[in-house]
Amino acid sequence: MKKNYLILLPLVFVGIISSFFIWNLNYEKSDTLVVSDIPEFQMSDLKGNKIDRSIFKVDEYKLINVWATWCINCKLEHGFLMSLKNENFKIIGLNYKDNLEKANKWLVQFGNPYKKNIFDQKGELGFELGVAGAPETYLVNKQNKILHKHIGIMNEDIWIQKFLPLIND
């Protein structure tokens, strides 16, 4: 018996919507390139020392990593940040809306991947930088411009695919 080809119509329908889904999923991943400056700020670090924009030294690439002790996913990327530190890459921590005591305890317990830490209890600097949550990681170039914002967990793949090409440019 010859089958009616009409029954393939739902298959075509499913195929079409799936291709749209795939398109959309990939579309989401292509972050746009952002270039913005590090704003001026007057903050303190986790030891209580005053710090300002001068901690962002000219002539080197560095990362800003937004973290907090209440953020589970920050624990997940911690190991990777430690390995970056071991490669002597400079990471500046932005301790975001956190508790000073807990944050210090965390660094002692799990290791400190950060060169400097900005204690941003109210999220003021975070707001100016456009932080939406934690974890987030920004790539800052030699001229202290933010080249790329990554929202979510950092890992080897993202580092290689998103960050290294920008550094090597």
């Binding site: 989401e28 972050d31 746009t32 952002v34 907090a68 209440w70 953020c71 589970i72 996913n73 809306k97 999220g123 707001f127 100016e128 456009g130 939406a132 949550g133 934690a134 914002k149 929202i151």
Partner: protein
């Protein structure tokens, strides 16, 4: 047999008409009931018609929230860190509505006053998660 064939035609006609009516229904309903998303920068650069309901989103600007004394009227500003738009709204705010947090408002935009009159406020947001549109607006 003739009756059988006639019935078949009825069935096909019925199915065809139902599908056509449904398609018509869907498209006329879509025309009226979709809300385009605008960031404050979009609102500035190419403002929409003020008779069309749209959605605007970004972060609630710090210290911008003003509450009317004896009504449920609220004024605040939405920013995408480049531009700002002031929003007025009458009604209850969602639990997650906070300054410096993401928000999506639905309503009408009046370009001359740079004012957005919202009839619905949505704030689905925790620290680990931002509404997709807001994330995009901030980039």
């Amino acid at each position: 047999m003739k009756q059988h064939r006639k019935n078949r035609i009825y069935v096909i006609l019925f199915i065809g008409i139902s599908i056509l009516i449904s398609i018509f229904l869907v498209f006329s309903a879509l025309q009226e009931n979709i809300n385009l998303f605008y960031s404050p920068t979009d609102l500035k650069n190419n403002p929409p018609m003020s008779d069309k309901s749209i959605r605007a989103g970004g972060l609630v600007k710090e210290n911008s929230l003003i509450r009317d004394k004896d009504s449920l009227k609220i004024f605040f500003e939405i920013t995408d860190l480049k531009n700002t738009v002031s929003v007025s709204y009458e009604g209850l705010l969602p639990d997650l509505f906070k300054e410096n947090k993401g928000v999506v408002a639905t309503g009408y935009f009046y370009p001359s006053a740079n004012e957005f009159v919202a009839y619905e406020i949505l704030a689905k947001h925790d620290e680990n998660y931002v509404p997709k549109e807001v994330k995009k607006a901030l980039e």
